[in-house]
C-alpha cells in the first residue's frame, strides 16, 4: 500500500478552510428516476468491487475436488471450514507445519512500533516544515517526495550495506527503521498539508505566550492532529502489515512477519496448490487492516478532507 502513498500538491492552490464533512449535494427528493439510477450505479459498482471477495470466500469454503471442477462463481456444494483451520494452524511452510499463526505476533511486534515511530517522526516533520521552515527545509522535503517514486528494490542494496555497517541488519530495530524511512514521504506530506490548513493564529498565539518549538507542538498541535493521525495509522498499518519484501530481508529470521508464511502458502509452485487454503490464508492475513478500515472508514474520509485536500 505504501507504494501508492505519496502525494504532493503540485499546482494546488490554497482553498478556503471548511470543516464540514456533511454531504453537500442537492437534498434528496422522494424516489425519482434519478434516484433509482444513482442507486443502480452504486450497487453495480459495489458488485464489481465485491467480485473478488466473493470468489475468495466461496473458494475458501470448498474442498479441492470441487475447486478442480472449475465453477468459480458457484456456491460451495458442501461447506467446509477445514481450509481455514489449515491456513491458520496446519499448513506447511517448509519443515514447520503451523500455518500462519507463528507469524502473527511477529507482525504485531513489527507493526506497532513502526507505525508509532513513523507517525511521530512525520508529524514533527510536518509541523517543522509548516511553522519553522528553515533554509533548505523545502529542498529536503522535495527530495523526500522524489524518493517516494523510486522502486523499493533499487535502494535496498545501499540500505542493506548501511544498516549492516551499524549492526542493525536483520533485527527488529532494523526493520522498524526501514518502515519509518519508507513511510516518511507520504506521512510528512499529509501532516504538512494538515498543519498548513490550521489557522495561523493558533501558532501565533503560542508564540506570543512565549512557547517554543516543542511546547507548541505538544500542547497546541498534537491535540488537534487526531483526524490526520487516524489517516496515517490506517495507511501505515495497511502498508506495514502487508509488507513482505522488507520483512523477509531486514527483520531477521526470528522476527519474520506473517506475510512470509502467507507467501510460502500462496506462492508454492512445485506441488499441489490448495487454492482454498490460499484464499483462507489471504483473508486471515488481511483481517487486521480490514477491521481497521471498517471501524474507522468514516474517519478516513474526514482525515483526508483535513490533510490531503487543502493546503
Amino acid at each position: 500500500m505504501t507504494d501508492t502513498s505519496v502525494a504532493s500538491r503540485i499546482g494546488s492552490e490554497p482553498e478556503r478552510a471548511g470543516t464540514s464533512v456533511e454531504p453537500s449535494g442537492p437534498k434528496p427528493r422522494r424516489i425519482s428516476p434519478g434516484r433509482i439510477g444513482l442507486y443502480a450505479f452504486l450497487i453495480l459498482s459495489a458488485l464489481f468491487f465485491l467480485i473478488p471477495l466473493y470468489i475468495m470466500i466461496v473458494t475458501s469454503l470448498k474442498g479441492m475436488p470441487e475447486i478442480r471442477l472449475g465453477h468459480l462463481f458457484n456456491f460451495p456444494g458442501e461447506v467446509t471450514f477445514q481450509p481455514w483451520a489449515d491456513a491458520w494452524l496446519h499448513a506447511c511452510t517448509g519443515r514447520d507445519c503451523f500455518g500462519l499463526s507463528p507469524g502473527f505476533l511477529n507482525s504485531v511486534k513489527i507493526t506497532v512500533p513502526s507505525v508509532l515511530i513513523s507517525i511521530v517522526c512525520a508529524s514533527i516533520n510536518g509541523y517543522a516544515l509548516t511553522f519553522w521552515p528553515y533554509k533548505g527545509a523545502n529542498l529536503l522535503f522535495g527530495l523526500l517526495v522524489f524518493g517516494a517514486f523510486v522502486p523499493y528494490q533499487v535502494v535496498i542494496y545501499p540500505l542493506i550495506i548501511g544498516l549492516s555497517s551499524v549492526g542493525l541488519f536483520a533485527s527488529l530495530p532494523g526493520i522498524i527503521i526501514v518502515h519509518t524511512i519508507f513511510g516518511m514521504p507520504i506521512l510528512t506530506l499529509l501532516f504538512r498539508n494538515f498543519y498548513a490548513a490550521l489557522p495561523a493564529e493558533l501558532f501565533k498565539a503560542g508564540r506570543v505566550d512565549g512557547a517554543g518549538f516543542w511546547r507548541i507542538f505538544f500542547y497546541i498541535m498534537l491535540p488537534m492532529s487526531v483526524p490526520i493521525t487516524i489517516v496515517a495509522v490506517i495507511l501505515q498499518v495497511t502498508g506495514i502489515w502487508n509488507d513482505f519484501l522488507f520483512g523477509v530481508v531486514f527483520a531477521g529470521r526470528q522476527n519474520w512477519p506473517m506475510t512470509v508464511q502467507l507467501n510460502n502458502i500462496v506462492n508454492t509452485t512445485t506441488g499441489v496448490r490448495e487454492y482454498n487454503v490460499n484464499m483462507a490464508a489471504t483473508i486471515l492475513t488481511a483481517l487486521v487492516p480490514l477491521v481497521i478500515y471498517f471501524v474507522s472508514g468514516r474517519w478516513f474520509v474526514r482525515g483526508i478532507a483535513a490533510g490531503a485536500v487543502k493546503g
Binding site: P52, T188, W214, L262, M279, G297
Partner: protein
C-alpha cells in the same frame, strides 16, 4: 503556506527533523546516487565497481523487453489513471447525494486497498480466465457466444491489468475526491441552483475546478502507483503472455534478482527516475509561479 518569519536555523526545528534530514539525504540521495553509479559498472550478482561506461545503457536499449515495457507503462498509466479518475469522481459524486448505507458502500469501495495483491491478483486472474471465470459462467448461463478473456491474448492482456488496477485504486480516489467535495461550501450549490444552472454543469464547470487540490493529490497517488506497478503484474500475468505486459519496475526487479545483472537493472532504474524528475521540476516551477502570482495579487 502559513506566514511565519523565516529564521535561518531554528535549532529545535532542525533537531526535530533530524530523521527527515537523515532519510532524504542519507537514504534517498545517497541511495539513488549509488544506483546511478552502479549503472555504469558491470555489476552482476552483487554491486561492484568495475566501470564500463555506457555499455549497460546500450544493452538496455537493445532489449525488446525494455522497449515494450516503456510502451506499456505509458499505455497502462494513461488508461488506468483516466479510468480511475473518472470512475472515482462518479463514485464520489454519487456517494455525496445523501445515500443510505454510506458507511457500508464506502467500506466496500475501500477494502481492496487493505488486501495483499499477491492473492487478489490471482483471484482476478481466475475471474478473467476463459475456462474458469466470467466467460465460462456466462456461457453456462446460456450466453454461448460470450467472450471476455483479456489476459490470454498478448494485445489485450494489458486491459485485464487496467481492470484490476481500477478495482484496487479507485476506492482511494473516491475517498479523496469525496473529501474534496465535502470541502466545497454549500452556498455554491445554492447559488448555482438559484441561477438555474443544471447540476451536471455545476459539477463540471464550477465544482470540479474548485477541487484542484483533491484532484492533484489523487493524481499524484495514481502516478506513484503506476510507476511502481509490480505486484499486480506479477500476480496476474507475470509479464506475459510472452513479454506483452512487462512494466519498467518489473523489468528492473527481474534484472536484479532473476537475471543477476545488477548493472543493467540500475541503468533501467536510473532511466525510470528521469521522467519523474522532470514532472517534479515542472510542478515546482508551476508552484513557484503560482506563489508569485498570489503575492502580487
Amino acid at each position: 503556506m502559513t506566514q511565519t518569519r523565516k529564521r535561518r536555523f531554528p535549532i529545535h526545528a532542525v533537531v526535530g527533523t533530524v530523521p527527515m534530514i537523515l532519510v532524504s539525504v542519507g537514504v534517498f540521495v545517497i541511495g539513488i546516487g549509488f544506483s546511478v553509479l552502479w549503472s555504469f559498472t558491470s555489476s552482476k550478482l552483487f554491486p561492484s565497481y568495475n566501470f564500463v561506461g555506457l555499455s549497460q545503457y546500450r544493452r538496455l536499449w537493445a532489449d525488446d523487453r525494455w522497449l515494450i515495457s516503456i510502451n506499456n507503462i505509458w499505455f497502462f498509466g494513461l488508461m488506468s489513471i483516466a479510468c480511475n479518475m473518472v470512475f472515482g469522481y462518479l463514485l464520489a459524486v454519487f456517494m455525496d447525494q445523501r445515500v443510505r448505507q454510506e458507511d457500508a458502500l464506502r467500506s466496500i469501495f475501500l477494502y481492496p486497498f487493505a488486501m495483499s495483491l499477491i492473492v487478489t491478483g490471482l483471484v482476478w486472474q481466475w475471474a478473467l480466465d476463459p475456462n474458469l471465470g466470467i466467460q465460462q459462467a456466462m456461457r453456462n448461463w446460456g450466453w454461448e457466444s460470450f467472450t471476455f478473456a483479456p489476459l490470454v491474448q498478448a494485445n489485450t492482456a494489458i486491459y485485464g491489468l487496467v481492470v484490476a488496477g481500477i478495482w484496487q485504486g479507485s476506492g482511494v480516489t473516491m475517498a479523496i475526491l469525496l473529501a474534496g467535495l465535502r470541502g466545497i461550501d454549500s452556498e455554491i450549490w445554492k447559488a448555482a441552483k438559484i441561477d438555474g444552472i443544471p447540476t451536471w454543469r455545476t459539477h463540471v464547470f464550477i465544482v470540479a475546478p474548485m477541487m484542484r487540490g483533491a484532484f492533484a493529490t489523487a493524481f499524484v497517488l495514481q502516478c506513484v502507483a503506476v510507476v511502481r506497478v509490480y505486484d499486480l503484474v506479477i500476480a496476474m500475468t507475470g509479464g506475459g503472455p510472452g513479454i506483452a505486459t512487462t512494466m519498467p519496475a518489473v523489468y528492473v526487479i527481474q534484472l536484479i534478482t532473476v537475471r543477476q545483472n545488477v548493472g543493467q537493472g540500475m541503468a533501467a532504474a536510473t532511466l525510470m527516475l528521469a521522467p519523474i524528475l522532470l514532472v517534479l521540476a515542472i510542478g515546482g516551477i508551476l508552484q513557484w509561479r503560482n506563489r508569485r502570482k498570489e503575492s502580487r495579487a
